[in-house]
Symmetry: C2
DNA sequence: GAGTGGTCTAGACCACTTC
DNA sequence: AAGTGGTCTAGACCACTCC
């Protein structure tokens, strides 16, 4: 192998991605330092392969040796790229078996983004009830957050989650119309698992990370009715913007949580 | 260097820690796999040095080459240990300068654990007002969470944080009496910076990570008075347990946040 | 036994900071 | 120029999984 700073040669062609690469590693911008190490370029190429669907959720990606050959770098460099993708939760390593594309369908990773926990732990699963699923124009605020133009098609889903028979979460969910064409109340009800698993399996949309804004609010008439509390009761308001590859927003979820017997848990470090 | 599985030889003595090491790397428990790679043992030794105060917040630790010599391993192995300590936020790497012990006194890291953000960003700093600082016996629930015996000495601090003249946060803070001997209202008022910077500088207690439980609650009479809202108004209740080295709990903080113009932000991944 | 990821080493060179 | 962390390589061996 030549020096680390040399341009990456274009490896043999593959199905989905061409693995083309900028000719130089140092950005040419005037005075811009913008140095990107080799392993980050590999990481970017691999992210593209994930985004393009060359490797699908749940599947194994090629072995480190194969990737090293494909990208014409040492195994250690591939390893560092995979390490970062694994800590970003895009990949999951399993010693002796291989490296796999992360999936929301996994039993152990299900409800990865749900931070509400019961005060008294109980292995019980959530009961879902869908209130409606409508296709309509995105309101201005929703459009802005989802990166749509005001008036673009969107899908609104509203549902209630119950634990031990008690309604606890009311979710008002907005999805961009384009990638979620064909989403209906029937399909929602038919699919057993978590929403994010369905989005991934049936629409090819993988939620990678999310940003939440949390507040305390007073229950309005609708929320009070749906959640079975008095109007004016304090509820946790959780606005979640979910992002897919490349930090593209693909879901806006406004949740109201009852927190008499549950709490939102968080780890700071 | 001998094989990776060999026991670590005890390096030359140092001031604070003896760097003693278990004779074998594989735990002897019957059938227990408990394999611990070399770099994790190095990490544990370094954590001990941090805990023992051999390296203090803000100071530089020895260079990777020095550490490699001290522990009689390769630089790469030290590097992996330091990498993990850096992602755990115990250390901070600065290329060309060295590796430093993380500190809450740092301007850029200040208020690391405060997740409340204004809806309209404003570079304004918090105004603090201390309501009281009392030395007393820990109530049962506080004692349990702090790992004290019921009735052990504790320090209770209550304070209000205001932003742009508006009271926004009411904190009820409990600290174990032993390590915080000598904490008084006067010293609190005298110290300018964040509480955690003071705890670190004046009591040698470094907060490393924290666990929070968040709820929506109705303001009681006291909270309403202190925060200037109507009784019954929704407030965000944030219970934080802060931990120091070795996951030892050293602070219980119960906060009530007004969220009309602020929100608790969180990143999920 | 073959294949996978995981650890450890040794050495070269690069980028950044300080003197 | 010297010292620090950061990158990259090549090779050996270990731990785990599956056939």
């Amino acid at each position: 192998m030549s020096t680390p700073s040399a341009a990456l040669p274009v490896p043999a062609g593959r199905a989905a991605a061409a693995d083309a690469l900028p000719g130089e590693r140092i950005a040419e911008g005037p005075g811009s330092p913008a140095f990107s190490p080799l392993y980050r370029q590999i990481k970017a190429l691999m992210t593209r392969s994930l985004q393009a669907g060359e490797w699908r959720p749940g599947e194994a990606i090629p072995s480190e040796m194969d990737l090293a050959a494909r990208f014409k770098v040492s195994q250690g460099t591939v390893r560092k790229a995979v390490d970062e993708l694994a800590t970003d939760n895009l990949l999951v390593r399993r010693q002796g078996k291989g490296t796999f594309v992360a999936t929301h369908a996994e039993q152990k990773i299900q409800y990865r983004f749900l931070r509400l926990a019961p005060d008294q732990p109980s292995g019980e699963r959530a009961q879902r009830r869908f209130l409606d699923c409508r296709r309509q124009r995105a309101p201005a605020d929703v459009a802005r957050l989802l990166g749509l133009k005001a008036g673009d098609a969107a899908v609104q889903v509203r549902r209630v989650l119950s634990f031990q028979g008690q309604p606890v979460i009311y979710d008002d969910i907005w999805l961009p119309g384009k990638p979620f064409k064909g989403l209906t109340a029937e399909r929602l009800a038919a699919y057993g698992g978590p929403l994010y698993a369905m989005f991934e399996a049936e629409f090819g949309v993988s939620m990678i990370r999310a940003e939440e804004k949390i507040r305390a609010v007073a229950a309005d008439a609708l929320a009070a009715e749906v959640l079975g509390v008095a109007a004016g009761s304090p509820l946790l308001s959780v606005e979640r913007l979910s992002l897919t590859y490349g930090d593209r927003p693909v879901e806006l979820r406004r949740g109201l949580y009852r927190t008499e017997a549950h709490h939102y848990r968080n780890e700071l470090s």
